[in-house]
């Protein structure tokens, strides 16, 4: 009967079944373990859909999810919109009150570049290596933005690696931070920064946009939206826009982002030995980024009497706010009265900006 020929059940392959299992694992982690559920849930479901036969959901010019992917990610719409929401949610106060901590966000980007270089040694092309390296920035939208431009075939694997490791920050970072710091260093109590006025917070997104975009024009799509979102927030005259960027818009684009990214992970793209290397290198990038942040904080302490708790350097890998929470927890373990959260938010936010600059530099040099 002709109907049987059009049934997907007869077109199922072993590779597809393996991808279903990967999809179900991500759904389990998202739903039961609550690991980055906002992203891993739609990504997991996207993987499932992309690996059901004969659906043509990712068929170019025809498939529903292909349209989400094409117009959302290939056209660079969704990652900048996510950054608009992130900007509206971000308080630059901790960074403005302790500007020296910005360098810890820069140091953590060493993980990106060390991994980039390591990946080229493993035989990845420069574009692929850049995409893998940026996982170490611990910034999902930036990873997706760069992957879509430089190595679209690695997009799914890199995005899943980035979001998985972001969820695993509380497990990955503490052993490295403990290894590189002494008990006394972890007890260091930092002096509070000065109070930041409303006018400074208002000026920052405007001036920072000009400065960063003039330095790295390729970072403009992400930085401009990030700073616009923050300007909404700090201007206090467009509360409806701030609310939309923080909530409704962010939620809507997150759905399309997750589903599209998941749907790029068909068996042909994903079940390759390269992907194992990507996950390994992504973890390596996270570890190096954490270590370099902590080490720079220790070096800075050699030149200042106003000591920095080196744990704060670990927050330079973005992963807002999880990395900052890890710092707070570890500081409190060493001394219950030590509250490092607000100090850690400075390098944490600087890490976001640093990762965007790093991505912009990759685009400038490789595109």
């Amino acid at each position: 009967m002709a109907i049987f020929e059009h049934m997907g059940i007869f077109a199922v392959t072993v590779e597809m079944v393996i991808m279903w299992l990967i999809s179900l694992t991500l759904l389990y982690l998202a739903i039961s373990k609550k690991y980055e559920p906002l992203l891993l849930l739609p990504i997991g479901f996207g993987i499932l859909l992309a690996n059901l036969p004969l659906t043509q959901l990712m068929q170019p010019d025809e498939g529903l999810i292909w349209r989400f992917y094409h117009y959302g990610i290939e056209w660079e719409v969704i990652p900048p919109l996510i950054f608009l929401g992130l900007g509206a949610l971000t308080d630059f106060g901790p960074l403005l009150s302790q500007p020296r901590l910005i360098f810890l966000g820069a140091a953590a980007q060493a993980g990106v570049y060390v991994t980039f270089f390591t990946a080229t040694s493993f035989g990845f092309t420069l574009e692929e290596a850049a995409t893998i390296g940026i996982i170490g920035g611990a910034d999902g939208p930036t990873t997706i933005f760069l992957a879509a431009k430089l190595a679209p075939h690695l997009l799914g694997a890199c995005a899943v690696a980035a979001y998985s490791y972001m969820a695993l920050v509380p497990i990955i970072q503490p052993p490295i931070m403990r290894l590189l710091t002494t008990e006394n260093e972890r007890r260091i109590k930092m002096k509070k920064g000065r109070k930041i006025g409303a006018r400074e917070k208002l000026f920052f997104p405007i001036v920072a946009s000009i400065v960063i975009i003039l330095l790295v024009p390729a970072s403009a799509p992400l930085i401009s939206m990030f700073m616009l979102g923050n300007l909404f927030r700090e201007s206090k005259v467009v509360e409806r826009l701030t609310d939309a960027a923080q909530n409704a818009l962010m939620n809507i684009v997150t759905i399309f982002l997750g589903l599209s990214v998941g749907a790029t992970m068909n068996a042909e793209n994903f079940l390759r030995t390269e992907v194992i290397f990507i996950f390994f290198l992504g973890l390596f990038a996270f570890m190096i980024g954490t270590a370099t942040g902590v080490i720079l904080a220790k070096i800075m302490n050699l030149f200042t009497s106003n000591k920095i708790n080196p744990l704060v350097g670990g927050a330079g890998v973005s992963a807002v706010p999880m990395a900052a929470r890890v710092v707070q927890r570890m500081g409190a373990e060493a001394d219950k009265k030590n509250h490092l959260l607000m100090f850690a938010m400075g390098p944490n936010i600087a890490g976001v900006i640093g990762t965007v600059i790093a991505a912009g530099i990759f685009l400038t040099l490789l595109k």
């Binding site: 500007p99 060493a110 006025g197 400074e200 920052f204």
Partner: protein, 62 residues
């Protein structure tokens, strides 16, 4: 254009001269670019603080 910087023959032989040259070039440009960007941003924050902080402080007192 990517300019060759690598000079270590052994590494270049193992991994391919062009790739290593390009990789080292991007590595150095990348690290220095990020730190330069952050240093400029640091100065920007200092300037903003100089221009805007006093007025803000007086607003806080009032």
């Amino acid at each position: 254009m990517i300019r060759p910087l690598a000079r270590r023959k052994t590494i270049r032989t193992i991994f391919g001269a062009n790739l290593v040259d390009a990789g080292i070039n991007i590595f150095i440009n990348g690290i220095s670019g990020v730190f330069l960007g952050m240093a400029v941003l640091y100065l920007t924050i200092k300037i903003i603080a100089f221009v805007a902080a006093d007025r803000s402080a007086s607003e806080d007192k009032s």
